[in-house]
Each structure stands twice: as C-alpha cells, then as structure tokens.
C-alpha cells in the first residue's frame, strides 16, 4: 500500500502537459492505469505535444471514444495518413508498407471487410465450435496436475494458434508459423522478438510466400469455407495486390491471435486476483457467458486505436485540427465509472457485460468478436469440467507494447477436482 500511495503521488505531481501515456514501459509495468485515471479526472481529451510518436491527442472517456469511433467520415483510418496505431504505419523506411482493410476508409474498407467477414460470421462459427472444443480439451488433457507450468505458452498460445489454423485450413504440423508471424507483425526491434526491421521484413515476406502457395492451390478448388479459399474466390479480394494480400492476412492473424491469447491469460489472472468471483463461478458455471465479455473488458487486449482528423472538429470541448492524430484509449474508456458501474472492479455477473470498448464500435468494430467470445467460452467450460483451481503461482510478465496489452508469461499450478 505504501509504495502504491507514493507512486500515485508521483503520477499526480507530473505536470499534465508532460504526461505521455503512449510510453510502452507504462504498459509493461502495468502502471498506465494511474495515468489514465488522472486524465479522465482532470483532462479527459489530453494533448501530448511531444513524444517519440509525434504529437497526439488522447481520448480517455467512454462516450468521447464512442463519438470518435462512430464518426468514420471525419476520423480516418487510412494507412497513408498514419493508420490505426499511435505509431504511424509506413513510418520506417525498412518496414513493409502493408495494406489492410482495418487501415482503410470507405469504400474500399467495406468491400474487403465484406469479403472476409463470413468466415467469422455466426453460422460458420457453429461449424467450428465442435472442432475448437475438441482441440481445447486435448490441450488441457495434456497438462500436468500440480506442477508449475506457463499458462501462456501451453494454453493461451496453443488454443488461439489452433483456432487460426482451423480458420485458414493451415497445414496442421506447421501451425507454429502462425504464432511466429503474429508476433513478428506487431514487433519492433526493442521488443527482442526481431533484431531489426530488416529481419521483420524478411520473415513477413516468407509468410507471404507461404500463403501465396496455399492460395495457388486453392484458387482452382471452389467451395472451401476457409479464409484463404474465400479470399481467392471473392471478386472483392481475388485480384489483390501483393502487399494488400499480405496485409489482410496478417491483420486476421494478429487479430485472431494476439488478442484472444491475452484474454485467455488475463482471465486466469483476474480470477486469481478476485477469489470471490472465482468462487461465484465455481458455484454457478453458467456465469461463464457473462464472465467472458467481462474478461475481454478487463483485459482490453488492444489498448487503443488511432485515427487522423480529416477536418477541424471538437471532442469533449477540445479543438482538434485537420491532420491531428487522435488516440482512443479503449483501456481507459473501459475503466470509466461514469458509464460502467464499478468499472475498476472485475465482476463476472454484470447486467450488460458486452457494453465495453474492447472491440471498438462503428464500421471498424472487431470482425472476430464472436469468435473471440466462442474460444473463451469453450476454454472456460472445459477448464471448469477438469480443475477446481487454476492457481497463479508467480508474477505475470507483461509485453513491452503500447498497443497489445500482452501477458508473456503466467506461471500456474492446476488443481484437479
């Protein structure tokens, strides 16, 4: 408590203008929440004039974020204007200029999204559910009871990678490649995942060549309901330029991997930090359905999305100018207690648990949201069948990133019923 009080005092004593919530170390040491809390209180639409990402606005309250997210005609996602993260896309000379529909505006965004959306639509998910459940069960059955294991590596990464492999109909024995490509896509050299931007570029080109091979096989075989077949056959996507093809694949790999992976880990951590909630769940396993969106709110696996203003506009009383970079901090909006009751608490039986910002809102809202919920629901149903307690037995380690709110290691011990 004493250290926390001292720390809070430090956050409160920083001049507002010097606060830079995009500093990735604040996410790695999980202290960024204190900064967001202060901004929501004192300066909810905050301007940071100087940072390594250039000047940017931080939008920190739920309703202001909603206002930006649903105003896609004024707030652009276009990659050439910087794209969708506080770190500009296409800013490093040696980086690949990937093109993906999440970083496009209308009308191209709409055409491409519509082409790939059916793979994660509810009717396709009904087909996937038994496969995901069987694979989730197999992952859990292979784990030792009572020994310290890394939950991230053995469960979170495995399950999301298997699901992706299922969606892509990816060669099963080579599915670890998907995990690697996902990590590499969001990596910068300082993270240690790649040594340099050149290495990142090389690996992503290998990824593209691999998928090109799968594409060439499937373009002559009609009717597949995997993602590659869908893209190869849809008029909106079949003639895509190479960097667009690669960009959209990586978008779906990262979108389906980094995010759900961290919600799977984050849920275990949250239940350990809130033993009363864990007990509620044991007493009533049907609460899984309301717990899943609460885990996704709590974790907020993508901390933010960024837009670029196409015209002068006011948000929360602040004057945003044409060309300004506007960052919607979902992680902060998800802790806004003027909209979410007891927002700083993890509560598995909330009334409206899906009323959170983790998927964003508006036309760029997460396309895989129901798949994410499905995977989490399945893994928790299978966990509850097998174990009385997934006990966290050491400190979690967190990713150095201001975009992916990642847990890189989570030591646990399993207790059987």
């Amino acid at each position: 408590m004493a250290t926390s009080a001292v720390h809070n005092q430090t956050v409160d004593s920083i001049p507002l203008g010097e606060i830079n919530v995009a500093n990735p170390y604040l996410f790695q040491n999980d202290t960024v929440g204190e900064y967001f809390s202060r901004l929501r209180r004192e300066d909810p639409v905050h301007y940071c004039a100087e940072s390594r990402f250039g000047p940017y606005w931080s939008v920190t309250k739920f309703n202001d974020i909603m206002a930006v997210d649903t105003n896609h005609k004024v707030f652009s996602s276009e990659a050439k204007l910087g794209g969708i993260s506080v770190q500009d896309m296409h800013s490093d000379e040696s980086a690949l200029e990937l093109e993906m529909f999440i970083a496009m505006d209308q009308p191209k965004h709409d055409q491409q999204r519509k082409a790939v959306s059916p793979v994660v639509a509810p009717s396709n998910l009904l087909l996937l559910e038994p496969v995901i459940r069987e694979r989730a069960g197999a992952i859990l059955d292979a784990l030792p009871i009572g020994e310290e294991i890394d939950w991230v590596k053995l469960v979170s990464v495995e399950l999301t990678t298997m699901t992706l492999a299922t969606i892509f109909d990816f060669p099963w024995e080579e599915r670890a490649k998907l995990t690697r490509w996902s990590d590499v896509t969001t990596a910068s050299p300082e993270t240690g995942i790649v040594e340099s931007f050149e290495q990142r570029r090389e690996e992503l080109i290998q990824c593209a060549m691999y998928f090109k091979g799968l594409w060439d096989q499937r373009i002559d075989q009609p009717g597949g309901n995997d993602l590659i077949s869908m893209m190869a056959h849809s008029p909106a996507t079949r003639d895509m330029p190479f960097l667009e093809f690669l960009g959209n694949l990586l978008l779906l790999i990262v979108g389906g991997n980094d995010t759900t992976r961290n919600s799977i880990s984050g849920g275990v951590l949250a239940l350990n930090q809130n033993p009363g909630e864990y007990q509620k769940l044991r007493n009533n396993p049907a609460l899984v359905s309301s717990m899943i969106p609460e885990i996704i709110r709590w974790q907020t696996p993508l901390t933010h999305m960024r837009r670029t203003a196409l015209e002068d506009v006011k948000i929360g009383g602040k004057q945003i100018r044409t060309g300004d970079k506007v960052v919607m901090w979902y992680l902060s909006g998800n802790r806004d207690d003027t909209v979410i009751d007891r927002a700083e608490e993890f509560i598995i039986d909330r009334q409206n648990p899906r009323h959170h910002l983790s998927f964003g809102f508006g036309i760029h809202r997460c396309m895989g949201n129901r798949l994410a919920e499905l995977q989490l629901r399945i893994i928790w149903e299978e966990i509850l069948k097998r174990y009385s307690f997934v006990e966290v037995v050491g400190e979690p380690e967190r990713l150095l990133s201001n975009l992916v709110r990642g847990i890189t290691r989570l030591p646990v011990k399993l207790h059987a019923h």
Binding site: M66, D69, T70, H72, Q106, D110, R113, K114, S117, P118, V120, A121, P122, S123, L125, L126, N352, R354, H355, F359, F361, G362, I363, R365, M367, N369, R370
Partner: protein
C-alpha cells in the same frame, strides 16, 4: 403502450409491449426476448440488434437511410436482406402498433 411481436429463428412468437418512443431494441431487451444482443447500448454503433422487418410492415418502417450509419453497419451483419434494419433505429410510434420483426439465429 405499443405492441411488437418478435419471431425467433425457430419460429417462436413473442408479443411484448413497450412505451411509445422507445426502440424495438429496447422492446426486446426490456422484456427479455432472446435474439437481440445490442452490444453498443442502442446508439447505432454495432450491428448486434439486426432484425428482418416483416414484409407486411416494411412500407411503414421503411429502409435505413442511404449512406447513413445504419446502412454502413448493416452491410457487415450476416444474412441481411432488403428488409434488414437495426432494431435500435426503429422508434416505436403508434403507427407501428402490432409490428412484426423476425430475429436472425445469431448476431454478429
């Protein structure tokens, strides 16, 4: 009070009442009719209150505004038809008393 009937994907019909001026989304949620998720809170920012307006009512309900937010969102919902609307954008006025809405199997 205005009456609305929701027909679920399996054919089950549920008729509920709602105060004038509230939305068809609220008519479902406030009366615990399953099949409407309504994630965004009813502000036309997702598409999880997708419904198919019964053909007999389509003239009175009307299509979504062309180029507006509702059209932008509906295009990404699953199984949309010419009678697709977002229930949060259907205001329950007296002319719609007795309205029939068909629910999709699942919301995306």
């Amino acid at each position: 009070m205005i009456k609305v009937t929701f027909v679920s994907a399996d054919g089950t019909r549920r008729t509920v009442e709602i105060d004038e001026g509230l939305s068809a989304r609220e008519a479902a949620l406030f009366n615990s009719v399953p099949g409407i998720d309504g994630d965004c809170g009813g502000v036309c920012a997702c598409a999880t209150c997708h419904v198919h307006v019964d053909l007999a009512w389509m003239d009175r309900v009307g299509p979504p505004e062309e180029g507006g937010m509702e059209s932008d969102l509906i295009q990404f919902a699953e199984g949309t038809t010419e009678t697709s609307r977002l229930a949060c954008q259907i205001s329950m006025v007296p002319e719609l008393d007795g309205l029939v809405l068909h629910l999709p199997e699942l919301q995306h």
